[in-house]
Symmetry: C2
DNA sequence: ATGCATTGTTCACACGTGTGCACAACCGGA
DNA sequence: TCCGGTTGTGCACACGTGTGAACAATGCAT
């Protein structure tokens, strides 16, 4: 090792510019009391030494670290992975740093929050996390602002950003009716979250308005293998159109349908519009939750909450939209 | 807000236990000089108040934050997403916290590292990142230990953990020959990393040893749509077996082959063994890089490097293995 | 020349923690 | 009683930064 000298500190910048350390701090933070001439000198010195302020020390002093905790689940679901990527990028643009933990189990989630607290994060974003009860409780105990993304289970005073699942269900119903379906089924997931229930409720309610009702229903874990084993039972009900709680379920259903009867299958709609949905092999009509916008809004909300003593609670609903593809084109039916 | 009291500090624990703050610190850190009796009293007080040490302050004092920077690319690739998830879990088990940034572009990567430096991370893990040159340079400048995962472009003194791509290529060649193929092609990606080149080199070298050579070759971005548009050209070469640099390419190739000639196609092998490969619709034979082990080793290496003044350089190669499925079963050929 | 406002800079403290050193308490041996 | 050794605890400093208050310098009016 050439030099084991530590990172440059603001003291050294001050030394080089023949000036006190506090002036360096003020010059770089844009304090108007600093003359333009010294500011230039300070900036030159800082650039020359490659000075980067120690954000840990700053965080300790300012009681604000610029770190945002992100609790995420099941990154094997491409939808979650994509959401995380967008979150990270947008947080970065706001000069916030994401400390990421996985909260797959109840105690895992609790443990994750505890770690985040220790690191004095400025806010917590929980991404489609189950165990939101634990997370809400822990954040409340630690007085940290919390934003649930794609979940709104908590009590009235927790903020969330999520899609309008109820409306999405109704949009799907309209689309299927428009394309000629007259009998319908729903393929549910195994979660008991409110947004999942809303999808189904919005779907059936709209169907009822048009004079239809569900002729079939099945549930499965969000897992290709299990979904495929459940699918035949659902297909057997003979419904002309099936709405799935999730793209994963929809892909399994398509695969199963292809195997059972290669030349005719019901109209199928998924949820999440993952990139596979666009593959010609599936061409799956799917609900897009507008993750782009959802993550933007989430980050902006988090950013706004950092300063506020999290007095404000914001509960925002994002409009989803349908992306129609071959899986619901009328001619694909029997 | 009921109380806007901040987090509990060690001072309050000391107060409650009628003891000095330093004793609290020592008791909790397991210093042998503390009597068993006071230790119990301190622990009781800490538990009662729910005291969690402020890791930011500790980090400032100890010059070691317990934060590990993770630079990642393209989370839309399920392979990367899965790797990230494993990394996060295994870092957590070692009580390290991952600060995650996305480094898709050159200046993005550089920027990410700069942020990591500011946060005084103890080490940096770069996950299959392009622009490793920038990352290596930045980490060297900041004197931070760096581990490249699945990349070994850098100079001799940077540590890495990666799969034995050369050997994987040779395993694939053997497998295809065993299953009766006599003519071969390679479907390359658009990256110029050494591991990518190794896959192809290991493949062709083994073929040459057995008296065969490549009859076709194509390259595409790692993207389903583009890969599908390139695929017909590659299939036209008539090779009986095709090795793809990536599962994404392999799926596109399978889709294209299905469309062109539904009842006969070459043997196809992918790389990464992503979860889709197991889906019956694809049943893709693929090389598994043993991500489980790769991430474990990476985290252990990072953990070991934290204390050391990163004098040690460790360069570790993980053995890959082949998962054979229907896409290379002999009867699937024409 | 002295008082006062303005402007630019420095001093000193605080954030919450870990730890070297000094120190108190106690005990046993002379 | 005095001394040396052992054991447990407290004082005070350091980590690197931001910032209120004090202070030097200058200009202006009296």
């Amino acid at each position: 090792m050439d030099k084991l000298k530590k990172q440059v500190r603001s003291f050294e910048v001050a030394e080089l510019a023949n000036i006190s350390r506090s002036t360096v701090s003020r010059a770089l933070s844009g304090d108007p009391r600093i003359s333009e001439e010294t500011r230039a000198r300070v900036e030159a010195a800082a650039a020359k030494l490659g000075y980067q302020p120690n954000l840990i020390a700053r965080g300790l002093k300012n009681q604000s670290t610029g770190i945002v905790g992100v609790v995420v689940t099941d990154l094997d679901n491409p939808y979650h992975a994509h959401a995380l990527q967008l979150l990270i990028e947008k947080l970065g643009a706001k000069r916030l740093a994401p400390l990421v933990f996985v909260g797959d189990t109840a105690e895992g989630a609790e443990n994750a929050i505890a770690r985040l607290m220790s690191y004095q994060v400025d806010a917590v974003i929980a991404l489609a996390a189950p165990f939101s009860k634990q997370i809400v409780a822990a954040c409340r105990a630690g007085k940290k602002p919390l934003i649930l993304m794609n979940r709104y289970d908590g009590p009235d005073d927790v903020s969330f950003v999520c899609g309008d699942s109820h409306r999405a269900g109704s949009i799907v119903a309209d689309h299927l009716i428009e394309n000629g379906a007259t009998s319908f089924a729903y393929f549910a997931g195994d979660d008991t979250t409110s947004i999942s229930a809303d999808r189904e409720h919005g779907f059936t309610q709209r169907l009822a308005e048009k004079g239809f009702e569900l002729t079939g229903r099945a549930a499965s874990r969000y897992d290709h293998a299990q979904a495929m084993s459940v699918a035949p039972m659902l297909l057997a009900c003979g419904a002309e159109a099936i709405f799935c709680a999730n793209d994963t379920l929809a892909f399994a259903l398509l695969d199963a349908a292809r195997t059972m009867s290669p030349f005719g299958r019901p109209l199928i709609v998924g949820y999440d519009n993952s990139s596979l949905a666009a593959w010609p092999a599936y061409a799956l009509t799917s609900v897009d939750q507008n993750l782009e916008k959802m993550t933007s809004v989430t980050v902006e909300t988090a950013h706004a909450m950092v300063g506020d003593a999290h007095g404000g609670v914001s509960r925002i609903v994002i409009e989803p939209y349908l992306v129609a593809r071959g899986s619901t084109s009328p001619q694909s039916r029997t």
